[in-house]
Amino acid sequence: MRLVAWKPGPLCAVGTTGTHFPQGSEATVSEQSNAMSIAPQDPLPAAVSLREELDAVGISDVLAQLDRELIGLKPVKTRIREISSLLLIERVRRKLNLSTSSPTLHMSFTGNPGTGKTTVALRMADILHRLGFVRRSHLISVTRDDLVGQYIGHTAPKTKEILKKAMGGVLFIDEAYYLHRPDNERDYGQEAIEILLQVMENQRADLVVILAGYGERMDKFFASNPGFRSRIAHHIDFPEYADDELLSIAEMMLGEQNYRFSPDAREAFVRYIALRKTQPLFSNARSIRNALDRIRLRQANRLVSDIDRLLTADQIMSIEPPDVLASRVFSDSVDQSRVERGSERDA
């Protein structure tokens, strides 16, 4: 028995007399049995450093980037921070072998046009991936057209196809309320909704679904599909931007394209924002982007009009007050609804 347990090490000559090894071999046996009882699983750490975990995941980079690149949106950022904290804690819990259930991560983003729902959804895929709650960082962005078929029996395969593609990542359904058409009982949208709900429930670990849409209509959508509402854990409301936030957004957009406001133009743009906000069909950051596109057009036109001039890089980059002030938003004489229709079409 003892001899079986005892393994001749390199230091033990085989010919050593028997009197020595009983003690040594016993020690080996007890050590081995101890090792056996622990070996199957790694010893649990007594404490886990949250900071180390945080650094290991690299989530702080993503959050910092979110802070830097998304202006305003306080409630959204708070919620994302909460979610990522929860996910971090879940990670630690798993490490300590505490019971965890994979949290429901389906989300609904509601808010007015141009408040950054899609932009945040794209970030979300990255955040969830870094935290290890979706296996891949891809995001499939779909609307009603991609999910709902045109004839009987077309919808289910179509929806499943999309779901299969999104598996392991994030499925983003923009303007989700279109899935449900209350005026048409036979609408195939209902079929798509049923398949979605089933997968959202059964394969929570494989897929995160994010619905997005304008606030009021999403409320109606959820009211007629209570199953949806209860399966979504995070309802995030995107607030309107304040004037100064819109200005920072504009400056950031210009900066990305290597343009900048001259001080006077900046002041003019502040007035532009205030005026534009009072007009109908204002869609926050999207309106700002469209306005900037038109301002760039006017700037280019202004530069080209004086064709013989030598231009510096500085002149090409800078946007002057006339570029901004030429906007129809400033001319009160024009019928407002025409302005709107015209300017939105320009976009």
């Binding site: 296996r135 499943k160 779901l163 999104a166 598996m167 392991g168 394969q203 897929l207």
Partner: protein, 139 residues
């Protein structure tokens, strides 16, 4: 008699997790994964029925596993195999194929000898299963 066709067929049946890992390998290689089923296990029967369309453009095996679960629900008593089709230039063919589901009871094959002129013998293998009409062969 255990039917052995395709990869891994001399190993014990793959578990779902192992299947999922194999599928992920195929997807990572950019192959389209197909699910096929049949109740005629003859080795020369190369045209199995397809379950849905080939799955192009998938990123994660979970989607394929969802389809496999659906297929098993309907045709759990038949042979189901998966294949990975490589569409890249020069290959354009199936790169991997393995059985993921088999009937509970596999009766095996019978060897038929047909005596022809000059004491020659022609051999034919026939699956016992195919004596019954399609759809009633197993279980």
């Amino acid at each position: 008699m255990r039917v052995t066709q395709g990869c891994f067929s001399f190993l014990p049946d793959l578990t779902d997790e192992q299947i999922s890992r194999q599928v992920q390998y195929c997807l990572d290689k950019g192959w389209a994964v197909n699910i096929e089923f049949t109740d005629d296990p003859h080795p020369r029967n190369i045209y199995w029925e397809m379950w849905g369309l080939p799955m192009f453009d998938l990123k994660d095996a979970a989607g394929v596993m969802m389809e496999l679960a659906d297929c098993r629900r309907t045709y759990g008593d038949r042979y189901i195999r998966m294949s990975g089709f490589d569409s890249s230039h020069g290959w354009e063919s199936v790169r991997i194929s393995f059985i993921v589901n088999r009937p509970k009871d596999e009766p095996g094959f019978r060897l038929e000898r047909q005596e022809v002129v000059g004491r020659n013998v022609r051999y034919t293998t026939k699956a016992y299963g195919v004596d019954n009409p399609e759809g009633q062969r197993y279980g």
